[in-house]
């Protein structure tokens, strides 16, 4: 496959490379990441470039790796008139995302009590296969969660009034319609509000590395200071979203014939955005996205309670505000510039993050001058980043950047290389206290199974798409 180098950080596969490609594919990576990129990613991203109504380019971010259908790290925007919506371009874990919570506490205050803290949070934030949450809902209440997202949580005592404004979409995408969601999706997810799940999902206590505050001004706007303790949450819509994804994948698989759409991978099943199926899925997807915002909100509530009980202080006093919450598996309607004309598009991000630049109305007023906070989760061993979106991202990538470091090794291979209990000990020696439901699950998430996050983050920095604000170092981790 011909891959042209556009710049030190951008590579392009021309639309002539594969029959049916409507636009070229662009991969963001430095020389090293590009040489190590799964060749399957090129196959998958060029398949995406064949989907009807795609605009400009099919993008893959530097954390890209093989996914199902779309690659992970994929970004694709489609015209509303003749474009499609694809559940496979969003993922089964609808609105899987990251949330970052600040505190006024320093490393010195928290480190002596980190074990207690990890033990307590492990109890109050259920994790692992099939885990149930502590919030009891009736089906009618669950439907309220779907429609109102984080606002439901705040009204029901699981949050503070100003929490919603610090969340992408204010924690509630308008237009969610529970009648488009199956009974099965409801019964699968109703008991799981406030749970982490498993796989690469985690809750992590982190330190703002003093020598790694890259942009002091933006850090200050985001409420970051040296040696500060922060908490990062990575999880999604749990069984509810997974079932919505499964239900609609079946529907789309059949509907494609009706609309005369053929795709190169069955997992790319899609339907015209404006079709009945497309609109039904979009409404159901919003229900799952809002439930995911609510899921992370209930977890934040538990975190605040946990910190409150360990430190004997009110969470408000400890400044436990949400910095931001980003969705990295979602499709959204957004205005973007196409050939000098602002156009509304349906932007799919699967394992990629919105990173809007300064001035956009979608960025909370408190951050609007500097740009949108972008939370990038690294492996549990290597640390994570808080970044900020740029104007250049708006012009180049539909305001999108990477979502994490990106896996390079399969789960099976990682488990062969390290034993979970051993890894736990090693991490403790390195100053990271871990508590996991599953030891084999822990081994699957070992740092060596991932790309070097600094390399990934630096690529997007050098490309001018997202800028580093602070690097965060883990000291405590809870996993499914």
């Amino acid at each position: 496959m011909e891959i042209k180098k556009i710049s030190d950080y951008i590579w392009e596969i021309p639309a002539t490379e594969k029959e049916g490609m409507l636009v070229p594919a662009r991969i963001y990576a430095n020389e090293k990441l590009m040489s190590e990129m799964d060749s399957g990613v090129f196959e998958q991203i060029t398949n995406v470039a064949c989907l009807p109504g795609i605009q400009k380019y099919a993008y893959c971010m530097p954390d890209g790796h093989l996914g199902y259908g779309f690659p992970i790290g994929g970004v694709a925007a489609f015209s509303l008139e003749d474009g499609i919506i694809s559940p496979g371009g969003i993922g089964f874990d609808i609105n899987c995302g990251m949330r970052l919570i600040r505190t006024d506490l320093t490393a010195d205050e928290v480190e002596p009590r980190i074990k207690e803290l990890v033990d307590l949070l492990f109890k109050t934030v259920p994790a692992g296969v099939g885990s149930k949450g502590l919030v009891k809902l009736t089906p009618e209440e669950f439907k309220e969660v779907m429609v109102h997202g984080v606002n439901w949580c705040i009204e029901n005592g699981y949050g503070w009034d100003h929490d919603a404004e610090r969340i992408e979409e204010n924690g509630c995408i308008p237009g969610a319609d529970p009648s488009k969601v199956s009974e099965k999706a409801i019964s699968r997810g109703i008991k799981q509000l406030g749970t982490l799940g498993s796989g690469n999902h985690y809750l992590e206590i982190q330190i703002a590395t003093p020598e790694k505050i890259f942009d002091k001004n933006v850090a200050e706007v985001f409420g970051i200071f040296k040696n500060q303790v922060l908490i990062m949450v990575h999880c999604g819509s749990r069984g509810f979203g997974h079932q919505v994804g499964t239900d609609y994948l079946r529907i789309f698989d059949t509907a494609m014939k009706k609309y005369g759409i053929t795709v190169r991978d069955r997992e790319l099943a899609c339907a015209p955005f404006k079709s009945q199926e497309g609109q039904d899925y979009f409404s159901a997807m919003k229900c799952a996205a809002n439930a995911a915002f609510a899921n992370r909100q209930v977890i934040v509530h538990r975190l605040r309670e946990g910190f409150g009980s360990i430190f004997g202080r009110e969470p408000e006093e400890m400044g436990m505000d949400i910095i931001y919450d980003v969705a990295h598996n979602v499709a959204k309607l957004e205005m973007h510039d196409i050939d000098g004309v602002q156009q509304e598009l349906i932007v799919h991000r699967k394992g990629s993050t919105r990173c809007f630049g300064p001035g956009r109305k979608e960025v909370p007023a408190i951050y609007r001058k500097v740009g949108q906070p972008v939370i990038v989760g690294g492996s549990m061993e290597t640390g994570s980043y808080l970044l900020v979106g740029t104007e250049k991202a708006m012009k180049e990538t539909f305001g999108s950047t990477m979502h994490g470091s990106g896996r390079t090794m399969s789960r099976t291979a990682a488990k062969k290389k390290v034993d979970g209990a051993e890894l736990k000990k090693e991490m403790e020696k390195a100053g990271i206290i871990v508590k996991a439901v599953s030891m084999s699950g822990l081994a699957e998430e070992a740092g060596f199974a991932y790309k070097d996050i600094s390399e990934v983050v630096d690529t997007m920095e050098m490309a001018g798409i997202s800028k580093k604000v602070v690097e965060l170092k883990p000291i405590g981790n809870i996993k499914g």
């Binding site: 496979g88 099965k184 994804g245 499914g480």
Partner: protein
């Protein structure tokens, strides 16, 4: 082994290939491969049984429905399964009648692994050969 996990097909997910002399064997072993991803099955007792009835026009549709149903029950009823008795008949459509046995999820008792979110259509295939059936499945983790 009637099934084997495939590396480097879906980096962050779980892929397996399964073979069976009959459709029943194929479906049973695909279910085992799916649950072994989530739990060490020998740590799970057969205390709860669930009867599952499904029908589909095609074999691959039926296998997708079968595995998706088990993944659904894992969350909806918080059960992990360890034994599957499967019966499949073909008249005008394929009909599955199965009993899945397992136990309510208990992290103290069960050696839990990674949760399966969904069965995907990525590289999904079910094939019939002269003397056996085979399938390739990628599970979203």
């Amino acid at each position: 082994m009637p099934y084997r996990y495939l590396e480097d097909i879906a980096t962050a997910d779980a892929a397996f290939e399964v073979k069976g002399r009959t459709l029943e064997e194929l479906f049973r072993d695909a279910a085992i491969a799916t649950f072994e991803v989530m739990v060490e099955m020998k740590s799970v007792k057969n205390e709860i049984t669930k009867t599952i009835e499904l029908e589909n026009q095609t074999v691959d549709g039926l296998l997708f429905d079968w595995l998706s149903e088990l993944v659904y029950l894992k969350d909806a009823e918080a059960i992990v399964f360890s034994k599957f008795d499967v019966n499949i008949r073909k008249n005008d459509v394929y009909k599955l009648n199965a009993i899945a046995s397992g136990e309510g999820i208990d992290p103290e008792k069960h050696n839990l692994r990674s949760d399966v979110k969904a069965v995907t259509y990525h590289m999904y295939e079910v094939k019939e050969a002269k003397d056996h059936w085979s399938a390739k499945v990628i599970l979203d983790i």
